[in-house]
């Protein structure tokens, strides 16, 4: 479980996050949602330590992350896997080397063991026989899958996904969402997904935190999000013409 307590972050006069607290349980897909520019990605970066908040603390299963010393932080980072918006694959390495990278750095495994592991995770995300291809030679959806494979290749406890559906067609988005949810259940990891895609929200939102203007305005799940009664959230959900029509029908 990941717990965040009173996280606040500003960039100059812009208060991006204001006193945000919440809990993200293990074994379910936790979503942080909100319109663009509401601080979702900054919150995620605060949680993984890429951005240091002015106030607040992040607890990984009770272990304080932000106040941890370098060794403790390094140990905790080994339990983290992250999927970035564009995949963030290393351009100079082929797919196999990309996925193997965390094993090369963080483990003492032998080459054969590492290769087995890489092939297993690539197979798990539905990619086979692309080991020697370069990132530039594969599609956006495949890059996301490789990103997931790289995130889970090490024995992780925490999986973070920053807008995993951006730039993907609806069908591929759905497959990526399902894959993230399956992996979360299968590996029993604490997963946090940042998204503004309502299909993801309705599809895999087992726990949802809604942010607007840097504040947490609502928490719930996909079953009760449509009937939240939270005005700002309803404006966000029913922003498109299609959703407005659906709202009238409901």
């Amino acid at each position: 479980m990941i717990e965040i307590n009173n996280i606040s972050k500003s960039f100059g006069d812009n208060h991006v996050l204001q006193d945000i607290s919440g809990k993200f349980e293990r074994g379910i897909t936790n979503l942080i949602i909100g319109a663009s520019g509401t601080g979702k990605s900054v919150l995620l970066k605060c949680i993984v330590g890429l951005v240091i908040p002015e106030e607040g603390e992040v607890l990984y299963d009770g272990r304080a992350f932000l106040k941890a010393d370098k060794d403790e932080k390094s140990q905790m980072r080994r339990e983290i896997g992250m999927l970035f918006q564009g995949g963030a694959l290393f351009d100079s390495k082929n797919i196999e080397e990309n996925v193997m990278f965390p094993l090369d750095l963080l483990t003492d495994m032998k080459k054969d063991e590492k290769l087995d592991r890489v092939n297993n995770v690539l197979s798990r995300v539905g990619l086979e026989n692309i080991n020697k291809k370069m990132p530039a030679e594969i599609s956006g959806g495949q890059k996301k899958r490789v990103g997931i494979a790289r995130a889970i290749v090490n024995d992780i406890n925490y999986l973070f996904c920053d807008e995993p559906n951006s730039g993907l067609d609806p069908r591929t988005s759905l497959l990526i969402d399902e894959l993230i949810q399956e992996i979360t259940h299968e590996l029993n990891v604490t997963t946090i997904v940042v998204t503004h895609d309502m299909n993801s929200v309705m599809g895999i939102g087992e726990h949802i935190m809604y942010l607007a203007k840097g504040k947490k305005l609502w928490e719930g799940n996909s079953d009760n999000i449509l009937t939240s009664g939270q005005e700002d959230l309803e404006d966000f959900i029913f922003a498109s013409k299609f959703m407005k029509k659906l709202r009238k029908t409901l």
Binding site: R77, D91, F101, D104, L106
Partner: protein, 243 residues
């Protein structure tokens, strides 16, 4: 001043939380190939022509019955070893390697590859930049030595083919009154220039924010700032080591 402070903090950050020696070794070898081996052609072409032009122009300026022909070769040698080989090659390398380092790191930054390294617990500045600086400091002196030899050879070809001086005069000229300290000085300069080009370019690229346009701006800025730093260092080193 803020940028200068950030630059020194950036340099300091490379020496904490380092990875294993073996991972640096492989990266450094790759960077040696990228920085050194892949620059041989451009260095060879510029230095050969540089030597040739220096010989021809020196001869043009030394038209006097009181000055013997071999002096042209002697002047060419001094100019090449003391200044042209290390400094002009540094400007060329700043353009080729500096822009490549800044562009590469800038692209890694905007595509979140550097963030990915940080999330894995890797000290990205150390992992990505230190091998580039070490490789530059290994390979650049070798490029300067190559540039020196080829510039002198270029001078020889230009001088003898155009009849400015004979082969014997040229060889006598580049050997007479030779002070080995000038070579040491050139190599010291090359180490300093290599460090400046690699570290300034890496600094510019590493802290790129924005998109493709900003990556281009970082590359341009890297080349400009590296060249200015090289020229400043050139003057400071001359004052310190020659006076």
């Amino acid at each position: 001043m803020k940028s200068i402070g950030a630059y020194f903090i950036f340099l300091g950050s490379m020496f904490v939380r380092r990875e294993s020696f073996s991972s640096y070794f492989k990266l450094t070898i790759n960077e040696c190939i990228s920085i050194g081996w892949n620059s041989i052609l451009i260095v060879a072409i510029t230095s050969t022509f540089m030597g040739a032009v220096t010989t021809v122009q020196t001869a043009y300026n030394l038209v006097s019955p009181l000055i013997q022909n071999y002096v042209v070769a002697q002047v060419t040698r001094e100019m090449v070893v003391l200044e042209l080989a290390p400094t002009i090659t540094a400007i060329v390398i700043a353009g080729k390697v500096g822009s490549s380092i800044a562009g590469g790191l800038g692209t890694m930054r905007i595509t979140e590859q550097i963030d990915a390294l940080e999330v894995m617990g890797v000290n990205a500045s150390s992992y990505l930049v230190l091998p580039k600086i070490v490789a530059a400091m290994i390979m650049y002196p070798l490029l300067v030595i190559l540039a020196g030899f080829l510039a002198l050879y270029g001078g020889y070809i230009a001088g003898t083919f155009t009849g400015i001086l004979t082969e014997t005069e040229y060889i006598y000229g580049i050997r007479i009154d030779f002070n080995p300290y000038t070579v040491q000085f050139a190599l010291i300069k090359s180490l300093v220039f290599a460090f400046l080009i690699a570290s300034i370019s890496a600094f510019q690229g590493f802290f790129t924010t924005g998109g493709a346009l900003e990556v281009g701006q970082s590359s341009t800025s890297a080349v400009t700032k590296s060249c200015i730093a090289v020229l400043l260092a050139d003057y400071v080193l001359a004052e310190l080591l020659l006076n």
